[in-house]
């Protein structure tokens, strides 16, 4: 066994390995701590949190699709107060990087949460400007390069932690959005959020989701996600967290070879709660087998 180094550095924050969980698919870590040793993870990314509690959308909120799923949770969250009291102390117990995902309807909403987190033991902030499931805010910010740059600037001005901007795949040219976030001062990008989709129940002749549309995630979207990571990695200098359908070490390596410095596992947690740990082990094996000393040697290696 040769010595391999799986560490990655995101804006000065060191992760022991590149594997984290995708926001909204892992709660705040507590539910899955019965399956996974959170200390193994490169980072935990929490469910999106807003300045006040959000009730989310009516049910049904999820539907299965071929190789994936649609969700329209609508960013239900208990608000920053409860989050700070309950979820941050829970995560404090673990030796893993803590990333808080922030959502909002207006710029002020985002800034309020970012400010509240300033003195909290949180390593990075991930700003979700790409949720397709809420009417105002969310995706609206993420589909216009001027808005992306403006919100990034505003967040950066208040943030005490490095800032990850989470981009929407529902755009004509992802490189335009990636560059806009970089221009606004983003430290890291994460992509992709979900692709907007719809399912119709032909027997009941109605929408499968109460919200009509939802966000498509899971292995079905992986080719789109890999392509966008590849394109963005060639357009900006800041690191990228890749996600979209990662379920195995091979999937994770696809994103890393395409240019992602780290990866998130989302939907796969739902059908394989141990996916993250299997991926970490699989990446280590791959590095051993191929005699790759540092994970960073693989980042963007296919071009």
């Amino acid at each position: 066994m040769r010595k391999i180094n799986t560490e990655v550095n995101l804006a000065g924050v060191k992760l022991k390995n590149p594997v984290m969980v995708a926001s909204g698919t892992f709660g705040s870590g507590e539910e899955y701590s019965e399956f996974v040793d959170l200390n193994r993870l490169g980072a935990v990314v929490t469910k999106g949190v807003a300045n006040v509690p959000w009730p989310g959308n009516p049910t049904p909120r999820v539907a299965e699709t071929c190789g994936g799923m649609l969700n329209a949770i609508g960013l239900q969250n208990p608000g920053i107060d409860v989050f700070v009291q309950r979820d941050i102390p829970f995560l404090q117990q673990f030796d893993t990087v803590k990333i808080v995902n922030v959502c909002g309807r207006t710029e002020e909403d985002y800034l309020e949460v970012v400010e509240r987190l300033g003195d909290q033991p949180v390593d990075l902030l991930e700003i979700n400007i790409s949720c397709p499931n809420v009417k105002e805010g969310g995706i609206a910010f993420g589909q216009d390069p001027k808005a992306v740059e403006a919100i990034t600037k505003a967040v950066k001005a208040k943030a005490k932690q490095p800032v990850i901007m989470k981009l929407s795949p529902n755009v004509t040219d992802i490189t335009v959005m990636a560059k806009a976030a970089e221009a606004g001062g983003a430290d890291v990008l994460s992509m992709i959020n979900t692709l907007t989709g719809m399912k119709i129940d032909v027997n009941r002749r109605t929408f499968a989701l109460a919200n009509k549309t939802g966000g498509l995630s899971g292995p079905a979207v992986k080719p789109v996600a890999v392509r966008m990571v590849y394109q963005a990695a060639r357009a900006v200098k800041i690191p990228i967290i890749g996600m979209g359908g990662i379920a195995t070490a091979e999937d994770a390596l696809e994103f890393i070879l395409a240019g992602a410095s780290a990866v998130s596992v989302g939907t796969a947690n739902f059908y394989n709660p141990c996916a993250t740990v299997e991926i970490i082990e699989g990446i280590e094996e791959y590095m051993q087998k191929n005699e790759i000393p540092r994970l960073t040697d693989l980042v963007g290696a296919v071009r």
Binding site: F26, E34, F35, G56, T59, E64, N71, N269, Y271
Partner: protein, 254 residues
Amino acid sequence: MSKCKMQAEVLRQTQLTEDIFDLWIKAPQIAEEAKAGQFVSLYTKDGAHLLPRPISICETDRETGSLRLVYRIAGYGTGEFSGYRPGDFVEAMGPLGNGFPLKNKKAMLIGGGIGIPPMLELAKELDGEKEIVAGYRDVLFLTEDLEAQGRLTVATEDGSAGTRGNVLDAIREKDIQAEVIYACGPTPMLRAVKAYAAEKGIECWLSLEERMACGVGACLACVCKSKEVDSHSHVHNKRVCKDGPVFEAGEVEL
């Protein structure tokens, strides 16, 4: 760790009606912990169908470490399960959810359609006096097993057995008395049971159903409307998979 995902061996499977199957699987870690009203998530073998299929625990046998699941073919997943033969394996996670609280009172167990199976394990776990009311569309199933656990009253929509009508028609007709009600079945039935319990001032516990993605409380897919702001979500939502599937009737809006 109280939960686990495992490859469970299929011990036997029989067909109860045209579309209802009776599956025994070997899952010692799950059987060890399982309580009436809890469920397991089953996963298909097909790479295009990823989400869990939640199925209630119908019976547990701790000695052999096995679980009984009774389910209706509703689509792809249950269709796949119905083809399993002894020796096959199925991926199962559980036990999930809270389960029914066991009260030391005269109990009425109400099951409608595919909500009947969890009543069997509940009847086995409840020590006191119990009345079981089972509502069917037409063809009966599990009646022998239920009769072995308490007094059984049957209702059928087509009147082919027991009272013609639904479970409440049977309860009213037979004037069945109880101090606590446990119910599982379609939402209209649960709504009627809730109203009946309120009218009579009887304690009442309902097992709900909702579309799930994680099954463990992480994704917030499976919420139901709760009367009070709940302590987890701080909005009027409770998670069927984690805070439920069993709720005190007054807690939830149907």
